[in-house]
Amino acid sequence: MGDKRGQVTIFIILAIVIVVGAVLAYFFIPGFGLTTGLSVENPEAFIESCMEDEIEMALEKISLRGGSLEPEHFFNYYNNPVEYLCYINQNYIPCIVQQPLLINHLKSELDESLQPVANSCFNDLKESYEDKGYNVEMKQGKIDTEFKIKSILFNFPNYELTVKKGETLKFDSFNIFVNNNLYELASIANSIIGWESTYGDAETTVYMNYYPHLKVEKKKQGDGTTIYIITNRETNKKFQFASRSLVFPPGYSR
């Protein structure tokens, strides 16, 4: 019994030592802050770490809502508002394109929604340096989203950070790369919109033949709306949007 009590005491002491050691290391060992967000030499990592959750959230939201964070005209698909990218309120005729420049729209949505996050993260970065005794000068600019084939690059072109504590360090290049094929999925969506507005329908298997790594699904709804879901089979990332085109209503109605 006495042995067991002694063992528990040793474990408690060890735990206290580890926690105290970690706290001391955080404050006094240079570079240790990298894992928790700030490294003096690498403020870009701080920004990336600060923004990554918000970026992921924005990308997921935008992808599942037809390219808009807050859709204006949408179909409620399993409690998720999905933007109509092509729509006609009448029956028997093909839809009218509602978002002809989808890629540009995605870019502006991301730019707008992430700008406050970027500003906040840069302010946090400034504070972190100041807490470490640095003199900080910071110039803020505008975030610029750039789509690549399989990734998205978030540039911060006019952001400048100068920190001084003995030596002066200047940082004027901040970039965040996110692996996401939103560009590819949105390009397929654009093509589907073209078919919907011209013929009133699109054939999903054509896209799956051309792009074996994609799954394209079409879910018709009771009011004539079609929900298209484009999924990357490898990453499981989705882009979905709504269309209402060439609707044949039940019975004789307009």
Partner: protein, 533 residues
């Protein structure tokens, strides 16, 4: 016979009236730049227009702001037709009233990027070039996508041999890549051997044969790897030590199992997979794959699907219904579905509700095999003008409509003539009914689809004449068949073929039958009742 004629005339009149009422009562009169729901450029009632935007009491095509045209995205190099002017311009596009084919910026040409081609605009070609970081070649003299695809030529590959750390080594590259490598490295002893593999003994490199295999991005097949990590030829276990197979690049059509109808799915010995024949390269897993490859850890995965106890090939599509309990595929509430098998996964695509679309499938015989391949599609159910057709020829014109001709029983028709005083010419007398081949559904609970009226077209009256007897039971002298089960069933069949009209029969004082939710009815009247009608 005359009664049937009148029945059809009344039917046509009713249908025309329904159209007139529905269209005129909800006349669309305003073109709203933005509706209260947020949709752009829709023809709706004035009350549905967002007052902060433009509106005009005309069709959108007649307005300046909602006129449809082509929207050009000069950054992405895409042209989108059927786009309203205001929608295009407010999103930063350039709008033109001309169709895309008449616009210089939208002319398509053949864009070669690496060993791929795309039939796109010149601006799009430049954009693809920047996205892929590859040089492009744009040809305006190629006018069709097919021609463009056929011009795509894979870059000639071969062995790029050089010396590194006093050792002669090799990379499998294209001629251009090898040239770039030579220039970048500033080396003189870099040589390219077209069509050769790094393992060719004559090249004298340190790369040798191996029994390792791999998948290649953008390619279906399983490939051998050499000891330097270069891709060699398609995996063929019988060629693992074949000197010739390890010395030059073999095309897929020269490799094992090229003519396999299964794309060598689950083959232990051959990695010549083919996506279109239902296989693709993937890493072998014990619990997923039935066969282990003789060499390496990659196999041609079978992309077929198992569904409901049946096996479907990759790419097959077939039809199904939500009404699995009934044999009647088109009873009220029944919907059609298209099932799609791709990449080992079945997805379900519902056809339009209310049987406005129905799924149609067909079996195709596979050439060189006894197997068949199922192809299905949701097609529009063109039932709307069936009731207007008066001849069998017009009714069964498959190019125009999806209807079925039900001939009258002449004797029966003569007996049933309730309005025998009609003066319609006998010459035009139709000899049957034209009904939807697939009964459509109605959302009768909304009251907007005239379900009651359409079902009512099946209402009918049959005349029965009784003769009173003083001492015995009354005797039926005419129309006995009206009381028969056959007549009832015929009427019921007619009733349900009109749509979601349920045919039911309950004998009341007036022998009135009624039909389900939508009340088609067929009445059987006594002589007295008939006279009073």
């Amino acid at each position: 016979m005359k009664k049937e004629k009148v029945f059809l005339i009344i039917g046509m009149f009713l249908v025309a009236t329904i159209f007139f009422i529905t269209f005129s009562s909800s006349q669309i009169s305003y073109c709203c730049e933005k509706t209260t729901e947020g949709a752009s450029c829709q023809n709706v009632a004035e009350i549905q227009c967002n007052t902060n935007y433009k509106k005009a009491p005309t069709s959108c095509e007649s307005t300046s702001y909602c006129k449809l045209g082509t929207c050009i995205n000069s950054q992405e190099g895409t042209c989108t037709e059927n786009t309203p002017l205001v929608v295009c311009e407010e999103n930063g596009g350039v709008w033109s009233v001309e169709p895309a084919e008449n616009l210089g910026q939208c002319q398509l040409g053949c864009c070669s990027i690496g060993d791929q081609t795309a039939f796109v605009t010149q601006t799009r070609c430049k954009r693809l070039s920047s996205l892929y970081g590859l040089e492009t070649n744009y040809r305006t003299d190629i006018n069709s996508e097919l021609e463009c695809i056929t011009t795509s030529q894979p870059n000639v590959e071969g062995a790029c041999v050089f010396t590194r750390e006093y050792e002669r080594t090799c990379l499998r590259t294209t001629k251009k890549e090898c040239g770039d490598f030579k220039a970048d490295a500033g080396k003189e002893d870099v040589d390219f051997f077209e069509g050769m593999l790094c393992t060719d003994e004559n090249l004298g490199t340190n790369c040798g044969e191996s029994q390792q295999t791999t998948c290649v991005e953008g390619d279906d097949a399983v490939y051998y790897l050499d000891t330097c990590g270069n891709i060699a030829n398609v995996y063929d276990s019988s060629k693992k030590t074949d000197k010739d197979y390890w010395s030059r690049i073999f095309d897929k059509f020269e490799s094992c199992g090229y003519d396999s109808l299964t794309g060598n799915a689950n083959s232990k010995t051959c990695g010549n997979c083919d996506y279109f024949f239902g296989s693709t390269c993937k890493d072998y897993t014990t619990w997923e794959d039935s066969e282990r490859p003789d060499l390496g850890n990659y196999i041609c995965a079978d992309l077929s699907c198992e569904y409901d106890g049946e096996t479907y090939e990759h790419g097959e599509t077939w039809c199904g219904t939500n009404n699995i309990e009934s044999n009647d595929k088109y009873s009220p509430g029944t919907s059609s579905y298209r099932y799609v098998c791709y990449n080992g996964e079945v997805t379900i695509e519902p056809c339009a509700d209310f049987r406005q679309e129905v799924c149609v499938d067909n079996e195709i015989q596979i050439e060189g095999s006894s197997d068949t391949y199922s192809v299905a599609a949701c097609v529009v159910n063109r039932w709307q003008n069936c009731f207007n057709q008066q001849t069998q020829e017009e009714c069964t014109n498959d190019d125009e409509r999806d209807c079925e001709w039900v001939p009258f029983d002449t004797d029966d028709v003569v007996r049933r003539g309730t309005l025998s005083t009609t003066t319609v010419s006998e010459r035009d007398e139709p000899n049957g009914y034209c009904i939807p081949a697939i009964a459509p559904g109605f959302d009768f609970w909304k009251g907007t689809t005239s379900a009651k009226e359409v079902c009512g077209l099946a209402s009918n009256t049959c005349r029965v004449v009784y003769e009173d007897k003083l001492l015995s039971k009354e005797k039926i002298v005419e129309g006995e068949e009206c009381l028969s089960e056959e007549w009832r069933l015929a009427q019921e069949a007619m009733c349900v073929s009109m749509g979601d009209c349920e045919g039911g029969y309950s004998r009341t004082e007036n022998y009135q039958g009624f039909a389900g939710q939508n009340h088609s009815s067929y009445n059987i009247l006594s002589e007295e009742e008939f006279k009073n009608e």
